[in-house]
Each structure stands twice: as structure tokens, then as C-alpha cells.
Symmetry: C2
Subunit: 591 residues, 2 copies
Amino acid sequence: MASLLLSARNLEFLLFEWLDVPRLLARERFREHTSDTVRAVLELSEQVATEQFATHNKRNDACEPTFDGTRITVIPEVKAALDVFAATGLVGAAMDADLGGLQLPNTVAQACFAWFQAANVGTAAYAFLTMANANLLAVYGTTEQIEQYVRPMLDGRILGTMCLSEPQAGSSLADVATRAEPDGEGFRLTGNKMWISGGDHELSENIAHLVLARIPGAPVGVKGLSLFLVPKYLPDGTRNDVVVAGLNHKMGFRGTTNAALNFGEGAFTPGGRAGAVGFLVGERNQGLAAMFHMMNEARIGVGLGATALGYTGYLHALDYARSRPQGRPAGSKDPSAPQVPIIAHPDVRRMLLAQKSYVEGALALILYCARLVDEQRTAPSASERDRAERLLSILTPIAKSWPSQWGLAANDLAIQVHGGYGYTREYDVEQFYRDNRLNAIHEGTHGIQALDLLGRKVVLDDGAALRELSSAIEETVEAASAAGGELADLAAALDEAFAEIVAVTARLHSAPPDIALANATVYLEAAGHVVVAWMWLSQLLAADPAGGDFYAGKWQAARYFYRWELPKVRAQVELLASLDVTTLEMAPAWF
Amino acid sequence: MASLLLSARNLEFLLFEWLDVPRLLARERFREHTSDTVRAVLELSEQVATEQFATHNKRNDACEPTFDGTRITVIPEVKAALDVFAATGLVGAAMDADLGGLQLPNTVAQACFAWFQAANVGTAAYAFLTMANANLLAVYGTTEQIEQYVRPMLDGRILGTMCLSEPQAGSSLADVATRAEPDGEGFRLTGNKMWISGGDHELSENIAHLVLARIPGAPVGVKGLSLFLVPKYLPDGTRNDVVVAGLNHKMGFRGTTNAALNFGEGAFTPGGRAGAVGFLVGERNQGLAAMFHMMNEARIGVGLGATALGYTGYLHALDYARSRPQGRPAGSKDPSAPQVPIIAHPDVRRMLLAQKSYVEGALALILYCARLVDEQRTAPSASERDRAERLLSILTPIAKSWPSQWGLAANDLAIQVHGGYGYTREYDVEQFYRDNRLNAIHEGTHGIQALDLLGRKVVLDDGAALRELSSAIEETVEAASAAGGELADLAAALDEAFAEIVAVTARLHSAPPDIALANATVYLEAAGHVVVAWMWLSQLLAADPAGGDFYAGKWQAARYFYRWELPKVRAQVELLASLDVTTLEMAPAWF
């Protein structure tokens, strides 16, 4: 039976037929790998995700972590799964071999990770936070920090967190108030952190928190933030003063502990003195830049998770639609005829095709971004590496937000395909819907991504990233136009839609900033739809329409996207072009 | 402090300034009531909803009903609240005084009910199912059935259910297989029913199930369905053979038991014989018509519930946005300046204004429909009553589905306004979101409403209902055009959008039926947006733009709807006009 997590066939298409992983494998960094070893690690991922992660996804949801005031209890399946995951070596999937990593292309690593996200986001989150942590330390950490923390992370002995938010500072990192007082070679931290995923548990020997805090005398705002490594247990084995203040009880994503943490409030006094012991990572007052190294990666990771949840929901709905008999075709009213599987109803096929167009479009976008990371790191020329960096910079807010919005929309449709059954916890899709709702919030809300795209990314370097995106889209448009026929028609539609985005970008930036920013979310959504339309056209260039069912499906999903989805952009662009002030002019007292 | 359930000010506007309830009160049927008594019953509703229903809404969710194999346990607050509700007389709010009802206008009754839906859909559902039941029996029941069941329902001693679906027959009632064998003056029923809200509990002395079943020899399909009253306890006090097979465990709406019920499987043998004892309601083989009497009312009730959930979510988000400090205005980057309440951020105001435009638009639609019910029943002339019936017929699928879609969208935005807090069960909005997700499913899914609108309602009587809707909208357009200025501009936009709906309706009906029906959901959504735009314009005709904050808010929400929402219809109409076959041509093997 085909997996209900992801489509291995589609991953094969995306990696080998579309993104040309073999060309990557020819590069020096990846010379230990072949197409065969890549396929083997993908198969291993599917197997471990299926056998170790998917099996306790429902239980993770039903039996969320508990806190008795001292200790957090997580169901034992989580540790068992994470141990197997660590044993596969996948924690260091894309990391350097000399750090203990597998040194796989990032494109391949992300495709592997998708299996785990589709199987169980709650358990997978511990591992993915740890990877992000390890990647940051590998860049910014000292040799000693790498030895003491990164290697054990790759072995699964230490798990990691990122501690940014505080109760009074959610999206506003300028207001982070945690203090770090110099203390010998280290620092002593005091403060409160909020929304810490994986914040505490007994799944690993130690937990390495990466904490944004302020050294006394540092500038106010984000320019005065430094980054610290604060382990739960210090190198000498004593308990550091990081303790759980309480757990947050979420609508979904329940398998991952999410805690408020107190640093240096006196629960423990390591070395007989007050404050949580922390070690500076990177330079003083350069904490935000280091954290954003991790954050950009984490944002694409959120997009991947949202995609994977949308994808597994789609496959569950498809499976249900093929097996559930209900009703008869509109033309055949004979109530004594047998009922047909609901996939025979056009409205059900509409819901399935919409899901397919969202989740396959999102997965293409995420893996395209992953491929850009590989280009950024390993492309032969500096100009290719720079190009990849610019594209990645402008695509990151879209890769974070588009799958979060449309993966959730897919999950909503997956429930609807199931009817009343889909609304019950006896089936799986309602959990995907609840889990996925987090993705538009964490690692920068939808609105924050919009400000990042319109307020920063499209203007940076005098619009260099937007020009790079134009040129990349133009390349696809030209290839599709040259192919003629339906491809040329789709290319024309994409070309026109993207030209409208470019024009409206200029118009918005000619307006007073508050008007532009008041409409940033619509801009993000319109740009996202055009980018995903591009991903669809690009996929078709690798999909022979006469190649069989799989390719026919790609074509029909692309047609759906161009006929049903892309036209929505027009109204958004017109609204943007009108420099609408409706929300700006709404006075708080009028609500 | 203003209520976080609904806006009493807006209800005052809708009932007294917009829908002219005083004109209704002048009619013979309502002569016992005055504007003062109407306001008193609205205030009583707010008070009881606030003090008896809202207080256990979270506990209803956290402590869902349990079934130990014999008995269902519901938290005691539910019965306490329902008893107070019954004591207010509201179960019979709109029913005849000689049946024990308050004989209020339906418009007023629905406004009262909105308070309870906003406070606690789980508990309110028991009461509302009972009202629907009582209303049906009052029309179709025998004098004895009315005495034995309707009066005790109004006193809160009997609660009611409706039993349509079966495990193999969800949306497809033609496949209902429950059998009813004649047995003396009654019938003996055997079969299995699914998704029975309020299916069992110990909240009342008795439960009256209204059950669709088939008498042997009846025609196949829906024409062979009869309706039966099957009480849990028979008139002589013995237990009837209706037992719970199991509970469904839902994502939301957890306060209402939802059960699979077995009829006549031998758990009890009333009178020493097999089968559940049932009493025919109405004529043989006319069960569906009687059930649809209740169903149309229930569908508007679903729309009301979806609206109320959207509304309370909006008010919670508004309250949070006014009190939560976070960040600074875009223009003022000084990180040492104090943080501002998030309502100061334009993107947050956008999310609040969108919610306001959805929930106030939906509430206007529902109360407009409620007013039509009053017209249908009490308008002086037959032509006015017929007009109301035609309008109600075409608006019912929209009144069911539009609030279910956009009330949920409002709840989604309410979570987003709260950021991470909104995703936790420590706050209220995530429950509203989970509760509201049911509304696009029960009492006919979104897709079923679409088929009802495009496949039946707009063609019935050669399009009489659509013509009636045209004339009603035209009336508003003319009044707004005559007023000139901004009203005339909005009128022109509405007129154009509605003309497009009319034109595309004709085009769809000129196409092969399978093409039209494959696109029915888009049609429903486009028509819904235009109807709600009409509701907004109509409200503005009663809203003096210089009347103060409340009216300024009405105007700005209407502007938002016309600038941000109505333009979405264009792409939908163009898709419909293209007679798209993308979903029809998608082969199941291509997924």
C-alpha cells in the first residue's frame, strides 16, 4: 500500500527529474554520495518515520506532556523514536563529515525530514530544533562548544532549544529584557523566556538552550542583544538555574513540550552563586544576527512542516475518498443502484485537486529553497552563490508563510472530504488541522513575514533580490514559451501576473510607508501565489504529459492552480495598487 | 464592561433601527409584546447566557461527555443551565401562546438565541435541537403527541434529537435503511443511526427522537421515508429499545454528546417484543418533507451558531488587541519608547476589521432571514408571505454556509491577533475555532448547500426565487443610488456584482448539468459574498455616518467589505463563466 505520509514517487520526481540532484552529487562536497545512497537514505527516512514516528502521533496528541511542578513527563515513545532517529545519523544529515555529519545535500536532507514532519510533528520538533541549534553552533560556536555540545547533539545525547520570546516581548525582540552579567569567563543570566519548544523534558542527557539576552551597558533595542548557550546541566554535571515556570497547553502540536522558563531565579545556585550560567556564542551584541542564521533555516523548516502536514492530510483524504461509498452520480438518480466511492463526485475531486495543487506546490517551493541553500554553499562560482543567496532571501518569507496558509487550507479540505468523520478524533485529519494552525504563528507570524518581504527583502540592495527573482521566473517563462502549446499559455499567464507584482511593488514603495505596510499581508499572499504558480510551471517543464498517470496528475494540478488559484491575485493586486487606507483609517473607537 | 459574547448595541441597531421590529409588533400575533418587553427578553438572554452558559463553556470542552457502556455522564453545569433556560420560557420563544410559547417574533427569538450560541454552543445545542423538534411536532404531530411531548419540551422536561444519518448514509438520505414495521397502532423500528447530537444523556426526564425510517413496501429512495417519534422512555415509563452504541469524539463542540444509536437491537424488549417502539409523525412516506421543515430552520440555526462563534471570537480579539502592549508604530523605531497596544498596528486593525465585516455581515443576514420567517408567517397579504417564502428558500443555503465559512475565518483571525496565546487553551479563541469547524459539515455540508442553491433553489418555479432576490436587491440599490455620494458608489458596485451572478447563473444552466454542478461550490461562495455585500449596503441605509463611533464603525466595516471582499467575486464569476472542466476531467488514477 502506498504511504499515507508522503508520495515517494513525487519526491523522486522533485529530486531527480526536476531539481537534478545528480548534478549536485557531482560536486566535491558530496563525492561520498551517489543517487543510490541518496535513495537509500530517503527510503530509510520513510521507514523510520513510518515505524517509529507515525505510530505514536495520535498518542502524542492525546497524552500531552505533563508537569508536576518539578519534572516533565513525556510518553516513552518519543524518546524511543528520537533515539532511532539519532542512530540513523540524520541529525547531522547536511553537516560536515568531520563534525560527524552525513554531508548530504541540503535538498536531500530536507526531503528526508519531510517524512518525519508528515509522521509526527510533535516528536520531530525536538530533533529539528536540535539540528538548528547544532548548525548555529557549528558556525558561531567555539571549538570547545562544538566538541561539548554539537557532537553529542549529533549522537542524540543533547537536545537543543532556542529562547527568544519573553512574556512582554513576543514578536518584539527589541524588548527582550533577560540580563547577562559577566562572571569570570562566562555570564550569569536572569530573566523569563516564553514559548520555549522542547524547553524541558527528560528525553536526553542534557538540554542546550540558545538564549538571547542583554549584557549591562549594551545598546537598547535589538542591537544590544547577545547570544548565550545555557545548558540545563553544566559541564561538571551540576544543575544550572534554568527551570520550568509552567507549560503552555496548545490546540495542537501537543507532543512537543512548550514551556515558560525562568533563568536565574534561584531554584538552583550553580557554583554557590545566583544566576543561570551562560556562555557567549559569537560576538557581544551580535546575538540577533546569529539567531537569524538559525531563524531563516527554521522558517523554511516551518514551511516544510506545514507542507508535510498538508500532504499527509491530502493522502488521508484521497484514501478515504477512494474507499468510502456514498451517494450516486448526479445523472443517475436510481436509489436502488449501488452507492459510488465519493471520489466519483466532482466536488470531492475538486477538494482533492485543490489539496494536491497546494501541497505539491508547497513541497516544490520548499525543496527549491533547499536547493538554493546547496547552491549558496557549493555552487562553483561566486556569482552563482550570490544569486542563490538573493533568491533565498526573498523567498524565505514566502516559503514560511505560503505553506502555513495553504497547507492548513488543504487540511481544512481534508476534513471536509471526510465529512463528519473528519471532525472526530477517531480519524487523523482533525489533528493535522490543529497541528498546522501553529505554523502561521511561530518563528515570525504571517504579518511579520509580510513586513519582512515588503519592508525589507524587496528593497534590500536597491531591489537586487526582486530582480534576481524576476530573472529566475523569466528563465522558466522563456523555456515554457519556447515549448509552445499549453505551456506557452501558462507561461503568458505567469508572466503577466508576475509583472503585476513587480509593478505594484514599485507603486507601494512610492507611497507613504504606513500605507504600504498596512497592506503588506495582501502583498505577501499575492506574491506567494505567483511564486507557487512559477513552481508549477517549472515542474511541468520536467513532466511529460504523455508519461502516464503521475505526469497527467501533475498537469491537471497545475491547470487547477492556474485556472482556480492564480486568478485570485488580480483582485489583490488591484487592492494594493489602490493604496487602500481602509484599515489605516479605522479608528480603535469605531470597533 | 462590554460583553465579550455579542454587541448589545449592534443587536439594538439591527432589530430596531434596521429591521423595524416595532412594525412587526404592531401585528395581531405579537400584540402582547412591546419594544420594552422585547428589550427585556434580550437583556434576560444576555444575562442568562453570561451567568449560566459562558461560565462552563471551557469546562464543557475540557470535560467532554463520557460513556461507561451503560450511562452517559455530562458535567452538572449543563443541566443547571438548561433548567434556567427552560425557566425563562425561551424554549418556546416564538411558539404559540396556547402551546405555552412566548409568541415572540422569530426575529427577536433568534437574536435571543445568539447570546446562548456565543456563550456555549455545546450546552445550547441541547436546547436548540429540542426547539426544532417541538416546532416540527407542533406542525405535524397529533394533538396527543403535542400534549405528551411538546408541552414538556417547553418546560425543559423532555429534550429532543433528530435522527437522519446512518453509518452507510451520511449525506445520502436515499440510503436510509432503518426499518419500521407496523405493530398495532404504532411501529417497531430496527436500525442504526449516526451523528446523533444529544443522542443520550440524563439531562431530562425523557428524550424524544425524531427518526427517519422505512416502512416495508415503501418506495426506494427518499420517497419511501417516514418520520417517527421514538421516545427513550415510553408513555408507561418503560425503557424503549434505543441505546447508545458509542460516542463520537469531536475536535470541538465537545459539550454536546454525539452518539451512534441502535434501535431495536434487543437491549430492551418493550412490551415483551422486539424493536424500538415508534409513533408515526405526519403521513406515511412523507417523512422527508416533515424533516426538511425542521432542517431549513436548523440550517439557519447553524448559520446563527457560526455567526455567534465568529462574533465572540472577534470581541475577544478586540479586547486583547486593546490591552496587549507589543512593539511600536512603524515610524517610531526608538526602542526605549514604551510599547503600544497592538490595536495601533495597521495589520492588527486589518484582522479586526475583517472579523467585524464578516460577523456583522453574517448576523445581519441571519436576522434578515429570521425577519423573513416572520413575514412568511404574519405578513398581511398572501403576496408578501409568498415573497418572503421565496427569498427564504434561496437564502437558506447561503445563511447556512456563508457564516460557517467566514465565521470560521473570523475565528482564525482572532487566533492570529492573539499570537501564540491564541493557540493555547489558556485563552478562549482556539475553542471557538474548533467549535466552529463543525458548522460547514452538519445539517448538510458546504457542498450539499451548493447543490441545493445551484441545482434546486435558483431553478425552482422557473427561477422565481432568484427573481425575487433580484427585486429585493434592486430595492436596496435604488434607495442607495438615490441617496447619492458614497452610498451610490457602493450601490453601483453591488448592482454590477449581482448582475454578474445572474448572468453566470443563466450561463451555468445552459451548460451540461455535470459541468454546472462541478462548479456549484464556487457559485455558492460567490453568491454568498454578493448577498452579504447587499446586507452591508442595506445596513448603511439605516446608519447615519455622522451619528458617532458606532455608525462610523458600520461604515468602515462596509467599506472594508466592498474594497477587500467583494472584488474577490470577479475571479469566481470568470471561472464559472468559463464552464471549467478541470475537476471533472481529473481522473481518479491521476491523484
